[in-house]
Symmetry: C2
Subunit: 324 residues, 2 copies
Amino acid sequence: MKITIGEIARQAGVSTGTVSRVINGKPTVATDTRATVLAVMKKLGYEPDPVARELSRRTKHTLGIWVGAGENRLSPYFNVIWRALLREMQVRATQFVELPVDLTPVRRKLDAVLMFHCADIDQRLATLWRRGVPGALIGHHPNISCVAPDDMGGGRLAAERLLALGHWDLLHLTVADEHQWAVDRAAGFTAALAEHRGGSLAPTILRGGGSVLGGYRLMRDAWLQGHRPTGIFCATDEMAVGALGALADLGVAVPEQVSVLGFDGLVDLYPGLASVAQDIPSIAHEAVNLALNAIERDAIRHVIVPVQVLEGATLGPARARPAR
Amino acid sequence: MKITIGEIARQAGVSTGTVSRVINGKPTVATDTRATVLAVMKKLGYEPDPVARELSRRTKHTLGIWVGAGENRLSPYFNVIWRALLREMQVRATQFVELPVDLTPVRRKLDAVLMFHCADIDQRLATLWRRGVPGALIGHHPNISCVAPDDMGGGRLAAERLLALGHWDLLHLTVADEHQWAVDRAAGFTAALAEHRGGSLAPTILRGGGSVLGGYRLMRDAWLQGHRPTGIFCATDEMAVGALGALADLGVAVPEQVSVLGFDGLVDLYPGLASVAQDIPSIAHEAVNLALNAIERDAIRHVIVPVQVLEGATLGPARARPAR
DNA sequence: CTGAAAGCGCTTACAG
DNA sequence: CTGAAAGCGCTTACAG
């Protein structure tokens, strides 16, 4: 039998109204009443039915997702985070609508808008402000609640992992466009290498397209121009896949001759790909949280979600350093 | 004011129960009563509230989506169809769960399962049959309701479009794996070329990986081996993007020297890409329909959704044929 | 701080 | 074939 609010109320000896209040964190509940109810809920493993909540709430929450014009909606990363967002909203039974790039004709009432960081973010925030719609952002901005992966820390982790494997000639492939995440990943990587105890190292940084083909071309051209790195850190897994493709075409053995480390954690992209993984479910969870909180005009919060290195077959010890 | 079932009932002069019955297509409604209600619904632009339906339905429908082990869940195509499916289920307020490759440990009751065609489809159908779970398939199979794009017809359309532009040396890039859709696209393409009034043509067919990189390599190698087609038909847009990348690297002008036509209609993948477009929203709609109908043990149906050629900048008239 | 009650928009036995 | 009524699982004024 599905366990409902009524059952909780019965076992806790209170009314369903009170149970509802504790579920929704209303302040008007006595501390010990709250404790009792919470205890019963936990004991029974109760979870509110999102469908019922949505139906009974007078004003339904609908969240708009506003994707920038430049965002590649077909990229694997976007794919994964999009699914995570939808799943999150499904759990909360929140309606969502994907907003067109041009918001002008949208008449529908939006309770809040979730955005990805994009070039014209300031303009977008102004638009929302004008319409009085609160929002949250996946990315960085001082004037709005944000959530982002720890790009800088991830860059450091990448460096540390490669250093631990003895790598001494590092290449960083990243995107030509000035994305904050790309800047941060490169900065973290560079900083950690500079601080290396075994002697300060500076990576070669090459910039190009962020897709598989971009990574392919960067890697191929770098190799043909004589670059012979021991370790390669790519700003995205897509670029890493491209780089691996180029290395394969060039007959370079991975990881024997060179190690490759990606960023994002989309290991399904390539069997055995090592990557600095984002915690995408957490990012999605926080993002929806922030957007929903923004409806209540909560304080602006900035959340940084940790990343971690996923080991893989593309990572190995560095080849020996030639005697100087 | 939101328009509800009660308002319809009032204006149609019937009870809400009756309105509900016509909404749900129950047979026990008089023909003219049904007509009246339908008319009022249309006049008011009424749409049932999916949340309310879901809540009041005694047994909630939950649809499982069972993705094959070999399916690339990060591909743009999968991406798009997945989103279309979720949107469809959102509209119907149907719960959905993504099923693990191994169904054995799944205890949750599934009302129906939606699958993509995959290598071990027979085995999967047997599993469902054993568990008494109905299903539907995106792809082809005689024993279950299916929906698929018109792959064969799309192959023909591709040929006809290229012939109309005067192309006379055709290359078809496709996947090495024996997917039914790939077989059908190639078959339609080949058949239409063979029937060409200006004289029967046979395309060169090259097989490789289905990704961007696969298309890149096939195209590059073909060109380096001396192939000089006037028109190229790729079995997927991803391959087309790869082929375009290779042509760019080789300094071949598109469409002046060679035309490229993809398949799927994911034009966001590459600005100006011409493609035989699938009607993905319709496919998703039909798929969810079939799965839901399967719950009622409806007859097996096979639906083929039409495709159409999307023009684009990668398509142009063929270069002149050298005198023989 | 808390309870009793109405209501969200639909569906579905139960009668007739 | 159709209506009246109960109910899905919650939330929220309204009283107290």
